[in-house]
């Protein structure tokens, strides 16, 4: 009996200790969240970007730096992504686009590609869980890219996630997988041509096309009217969101690597030397402050014209 009671006391004691520790953690976390929200309030005196894009570079370098086994860098990177999404949505950024996997990345070793695909599938399924960030913040998820290049399980998981979150409307997360900007543009051009071709065929069928199909495209005017910028833009994968206001690339590289080439025509490009798994609130804060400073300068210039 004594032993049994003693055990109970011991168990109760350890639960209380755990409770105590988790309570302290909880209080601390709430305090940090409160501070963060105060910071966002201050930031929102200036313009808050509507759309931030991320090139999440440096996962492998991080794993090497920390002497972790290969593949762990990407897992830690995923945690960093969840934090960054939380900060963005708390701040009121409506659209976030991330460069998860490029078509060029298929050139890597098959083992690495496979482990990335497995990780992606695991995390996509995690996104659909009740307590996941997408449900907490009402985020609609899009998977953008040439999804036919993905293996079937990953593609199906992606499609399920898109259907499951289709009714969320507070924010948007665009995950670029099997994506390349030049591939996207070619796809948009093909779709635009196909659409125009169908239009002309219909016109001809109804007799009001004046035999356009038979005519050679020698006159400038015909070429001018055939395809417009807007025709191409509406067929871009990333047309689910407006053009990004800031494009953040980690790990110190300053290049686009075939990401959002069309959409980043006027975007503020921010490169930070921190590796993606190490990115935190202060880096985002710094990027936004720089963006705001530049925004004020551009507005001033525009008013002068």
């Amino acid at each position: 009996m004594k032993v049994f009671l003693g055990d109970l006391v011991l168990i109760q004691g350890s639960i209380m200790k755990k409770d105590g520790r988790s309570r302290i953690n909880c209080i601390f976390e709430n305090f940090v969240t409160f501070l963060r929200k105060c910071t966002f309030r201050v930031l929102s005196v200036g313009p808050i970007p509507e759309h931030i894009a991320y090139i999440m570079d440096g996962n492998r370098r991080y794993a090497k730096k920390q002497n972790l086994i290969e593949g762990t860098g990407h897992r830690v990177g995923f945690l960093a992504l969840m934090s960054m999404l939380k900060y963005c949505y708390e701040m009121g950024v409506r659209y976030v686009t991330i460069y998860a996997f490029s078509i060029d990345n298929f050139k890597r070793r098959p083992e690495e590609v496979q482990s990335l695909m497995d990780l992606m599938q695991e995390k996509i399924e995690g996104l659909m869980e009740e307590e996941s960030i997408v449900n907490r913040y009402g985020v609609r998820v899009h998977f953008l890219g040439n999804l036919k290049l993905l293996s079937e399980p990953v593609r199906l998981a992606a499609e399920r996630a898109m259907v499951a979150t289709a009714n969320n409307s507070k924010a948007v997360l665009s995950i670029c997988v099997a994506y390349n900007s030049t591939n996207e543009i070619v796809h948009a051009v093909e779709k635009a041509c196909e659409e125009k071709w169908e239009e002309i065929s219909l016109l001809n069928a109804s007799g009001s096309g004046y035999g356009l199909i038979g005519l050679e495209c020698i006159e400038k005017d015909e070429g001018e009217n055939l395809i417009k910028l807007i025709d191409i833009e509406k067929h871009m994968y990333v047309s689910v969101a407006p053009d990004p206001d800031i494009l953040i690339r980690t790990s110190g590289e300053t290049r686009l690597s075939n990401f959002l080439l069309w959409q980043s025509a006027y975007c503020y490009l921010y490169s930070t030397p921190v590796l993606w798994p190490e990115i935190g609130f202060r880096h985002l804060l710094w990027a936004i402050l720089n963006f705001q400073r530049n925004h004020f300068y551009l507005e001033k210039k525009r008013k002068q014209l």
């Binding site: 492998r60 050139k107 030049t182 070619v186 093909e190 199909i213 070429g223 290049r255 686009l256 006027y266």
Partner: protein
């Protein structure tokens, strides 16, 4: 963001045909031009200006090598730079002329004049250090909304510079190409440009591409229109549309190296501003705080050092 074109004096001409390279070919291309020539030792010889098309390849290679030697003596490559890692194609967004002038209490035109000196210097250095193509963002399609006085000044300046530098281009082996919607430029300038392009089209030692009234999006749209026309005429099928077909229709198809290896933007702005969008897919960016008129050899060396230290992986892994 108005930038200025001027045309520089440069060494000898080499006549050989240009051929279009796809992005894959350009990635593999490792600058054999300077490597092969620098490995030879030959007595000095000069070609008279305006060498003819009948010049043999060997003679041309010899003279080119000799003049490269001479050029290098004038402006040797700094010790910090590795000759093997020099970029083939450098692109520059020449930003900051207006701010430079304002800082000094001068009119904007003075800023553009100062900017022209920077460009002259840069073109000379690029030629001497074996860079094959320099593309400069002289005037954006978006710049037409600038005050008419400034726009007219720039158009006049452009015309004056081409006229004054034309002879040097012809004799010294620079090919000039202009990309952009030239239909918005004054008629006289359009004619001057097409004459200049025609006269220098066979020069291949160095190419200066001037983006005037240019928009990266417009470039892609006009490529798309050409492809749409070809599909309509049955020249190609819809399924044939691919990245390499689009590449061939872009305005940068006038050069053997359509993709910049390095993009430099001055004045501290961190954006591409609708310059070469497709072509910048794998370009290394280098942003400098200096205003364009203050951008000189030292800043360019710094950009090149940074470029040479970068690991260009094109999405793959190096190890």
């Amino acid at each position: 963001m108005i930038c200025l074109l001027t045309l520089p004096p440069v060494p000898l001409e080499l006549k050989s045909p240009l051929s279009f390279r796809t992005r894959a070919q350009q990635q593999q291309h490792s600058h054999p031009f300077s490597q092969t020539l620098r490995s030879h030792t030959v007595p000095h010889k000069t070609l008279t200006g305006g060498g003819t098309a009948t010049t043999t390849v060997t003679n041309v290679a010899l003279s080119e090598h000799n003049d490269l030697n001479a050029a290098e003596e004038d402006e040797p490559l700094p010790a910090e730079l590795n000759e093997e890692l020099m970029p083939n194609h450098v692109a520059v967004i020449m930003d900051g002329n207006g701010r430079w002038a304002k800082q000094r209490g001068l009119p904007t035109s003075a800023g553009h004049q100062a900017g022209s000196r920077s460009l002259r210097e840069l073109v000379e250095i690029c030629c001497k250090w074996g860079i094959r193509v320099l593309t400069v963002f002289a005037f954006s399609y978006d710049n037409w909304i600038r005050p008419k006085v400034e726009v007219d000044f720039l158009m006049n300046l452009f015309e004056r510079e081409i006229k004054s530098q034309m002879q040097k281009f012809v004799s010294e082996g620079i090919r000039i190409s202009v990309i952009g919607d030239s239909s918005k430029l004054p008629q006289s300038l359009q004619k001057l440009i097409s004459d200049a392009e025609e006269k220098t089209k066979d020069n291949s030692r160095f190419q200066l591409i001037v983006a005037a009234s240019y928009s990266g999006k417009y470039d892609i749209v006009q490529a798309c229109k050409s492809l749409a026309c070809k599909v309509k005429d049955g020249v190609i099928q819809l399924e044939d549309i691919s990245e390499s077909l689009v590449e061939q229709e872009l305005e940068t198809n006038c050069t053997e190296y359509p993709y910049p290896d390095l993009l430099i933007r001055t004045s501290g702005e961190l954006r591409v501003s609708n310059f070469l969008l497709w072509q910048l897919a794998y370009t290394e960016f280098f942003f400098v705080k200096e205003l364009w008129p203050d951008f000189g050899k030292a800043e360019f060396v710094e950009a090149l050092i940074s470029f040479q230290q970068r690991q260009r992986r094109y999405g793959a892994r190096l190890s």
